[in-house]
């Protein structure tokens, strides 16, 4: 093997592998193992029950909506933070990380207070006939809140590195601002956007603490999959809980794999040949 400047590769690699095995692979294996203790018929019955299906539907649709919202708003936020200098910019920049730092239950309680029909946002919204707390809209709000840093923090560094001369080149070639954005900036941001979107979506699928306070948790309408797994757990029905969790695990895994493929495709121009 080639000699390396830094010693300790076997040690570092060993620790890393042990860590990954214990912290990541082992619990997942236990989950799969537990789910496998059910027969195929029971497994299928549990994961395809009407209540489970309703929870998949509300979780996935709300996560999609939250991710689309974050995609637009997160990109705008990253753009403003990178391109403009204004008083309080550093404060806004620091606030972006707050959803990461805040315990999700705190976020959930705060959002519920704000969006309840007598809350600061909820009261004016209810006058307009819009109800947020205890509806799927509330789930979307909670998901957006907890996952927006993913988009901002993945897009921001790429945007900072973007050479302003590229936009100027577009201008001298006669391109409109829209053509430059669609033809030059957006394709260059796509890999970062995909990474941000996949993280944001995965986080939204798995979010629990922030949602259960604001969702109302009515089976068949505002009950998310993670909560259903938790309910089964509380009923000491471990195999059923594991079966439902395994569906979430598979979904997250497939989704991450797809975005990785898309990312590789979007980055193919960087390959030297």
């Amino acid at each position: 093997m080639r000699r390396r400047v830094l010693p300790g590769l076997p040690l570092a690699l060993g620790i890393t592998l042990v860590y990954v095995a214990i912290i990541v692979v082992l619990p997942l294996a236990a989950l799969v193992f537990k789910a496998a203790s059910l027969g195929p018929a029971d497994y299928w019955r549990i994961i395809s029950s009407d209540r489970a299906f309703a929870s998949y539907r509300v979780t996935v649709l709300c996560a999609l909506a939250a991710t689309v919202f974050n995609l637009v708003f997160g990109m705008a936020l990253a753009w403003v933070l990178v391109r403009y200098r204004f008083p309080g910019r550093r404060l806004v920049d620091a606030l972006v990380d707050l959803p990461f730092a805040l315990p999700t239950a705190v976020a959930g309680i705060a959002l519920t207070t704000l969006f309840a029909t007598n809350g600061w946002f909820g009261a004016p919204l209810s006058l307009l006939g819009i109800k947020v707390a205890y509806t799927p809209l509330g789930i979307i709000v909670a998901m957006s809140f907890t996952s927006i840093p993913f988009i901002v923090r993945t897009v921001q560094p790429v945007l900072e590195e973007l050479d302003p001369a590229l936009e100027e080149a577009g201008q001298t070639l006669g391109a409109s601002d829209l053509s430059i954005f669609v033809g030059v900036i957006l394709p260059l941001l796509t890999p970062a956007l995909l990474a941000g979107v996949s993280l944001s979506f995965a986080r939204s699928l798995g979010e629990f603490g922030a949602i259960i306070f604001i969702a109302g948790n009515q089976p068949f309408s505002t009950e998310i999959t993670a909560l259903l797994a938790f309910i089964r757990l509380e009923e000491y029905d471990y195999p059923a809980s594991a079966a439902i969790a395994s569906v979430m695990l598979l979904t997250a895994f497939v989704m991450l794999a797809i975005t990785n493929l898309m990312q590789a495709r979007a980055l193919r121009y960087t390959v030297r040949g």
Binding site: Q171, L173, G174, L188, Y269, T270
Partner: protein, 340 residues
């Protein structure tokens, strides 16, 4: 297309400012803006392009006042120092971009034909489907030129186009650019801090310092008749000796030089290292050799005059004298300037 700058001013909080520049560029001319960093040369180029707006003054393209025409309607081809190629597009797509977004609609076939024609012009016919990351720096800059030419610009503007390339590639590319310019006859303005590049390439050189034009003229005119000590120094190696100027003569260590028209007082004599002869006897400024440095085609001699001023000069490789020897230096083509 003629370009005229009329007393153009641009103020910045820091350097790069331009303090009143007027300049006429003839149709089909190739003009170099030459100056050290911070002399305002790139700012001038960017104002001509419309990437920067002048605070005062006007820029004319032909008879049209172009000062307030936005960059995308100004019809300029701009080549950036670091190429600014779109990294996610192939070479062919980069060149086609300007034609695709243009208000003048072209058929895909017409665009493809034009791309092919331009690739032939810049001698990159085989690289149409490569990405910028897959070609060399020199090739990238030629793609950038093809992309700028694709929109049929009225003028071509180049910002230190060869600044990021190695010496050999630079020389090849600038000869090649001159050839392209002669073929197309497009009015071209380029910025450089490399005097060799400017003299090699341009019909006319405009030398800038601290946001003002200090001299403009053909390469011959600026080389043979530098307007002041700054130009003399900037164009190449120069020796500088302090002198006293009295009644049209400049005195260095009691040796007199012609200084017709230079005001009395303290001044400087500047001369090129190649314009010095070493004499063992006779007239000239007394000096002692400190060091002899060998070069492939010459010898560089470091010497000290009797009054302790350093002089460097070039001699034939056969120069027989050694460190410590004393003699006299005889200066050809000295240039006398009053002290700044």
């Amino acid at each position: 297309m003629k370009i005229r700058l009329d007393n153009v001013v641009k103020e910045f909080e820091t350097f790069r400012a331009v303090h009143g520049v007027s300049l006429d560029i003839g149709s089909g001319e190739l003009v170099a803006l030459l100056g050290p960093s911070g002399s305002g040369k790139t700012t001038i180029l960017r104002m001509v392009a419309g990437l920067e707006y002048a605070d005062a003054g006007a820029i004319y393209f032909g008879d049209e006042n172009a000062t307030d025409i936005p960059v995308r309607e100004r019809g300029v081809g701009f080549v950036f120092q670091h190429y600014a190629l779109f990294p996610h597009m192939t070479v062919g797509e980069n060149i086609a971009f300007g034609m695709k977004v243009s208000k003048v609609k072209r058929s895909p076939q017409a665009i493809a034909d034009r791309v092919k024609e331009l690739l032939d012009l810049v001698q990159l016919s085989g690289l149409k489907d490569r990405f910028p990351a897959q070609i060399s720096g020199g090739q990238r800059q030629r793609v950038a030129l093809a992309r700028a030419l694709a929109v049929d610009p009225r003028v071509l503007l180049l910002d230190e186009p060869f600044g990021a390339l190695d010496a050999n590639v630079r020389r090849d590319l600038r000869r090649w650019l001159r050839k392209i310019h002669d073929e197309l006859g497009i009015t071209t303005l380029f910025v450089t801090h490399d005097q060799e590049e400017a003299l090699d390439l341009a019909d006319r050189v405009v030398i800038l310092n601290k946001g003002k034009i200090v001299q403009e003229g053909t390469p011959e005119a600026v080389c043979r008749n530098p307007a002041d000590a700054f130009v003399m120094n900037f164009l190449g190696d120069a020796n500088k000796l302090d002198a006293d100027i009295r009644g049209g003569k400049a005195y260095v260590d009691a040796v007199a030089f012609d200084a017709e028209g230079v005001a009395d007082g303290s001044g400087q004599i500047l001369f090129r290292p190649a314009d010095v002869s070493w004499r063992e006897h006779g007239h000239g400024i007394a000096a002692r050799i400190l060091r002899v440095i060998d070069r492939p085609d010459s010898r560089r001699v470091l010497a000290m005059t009797g009054s302790g001023q350093a002089v460097e000069f070039d001699t034939a490789p056969e120069f027989p004298h050694r460190k410590g020897e004393e003699g006299f230096i005889d200066i050809r083509r000295p240039r006398v300037y009053a002290a700044a």
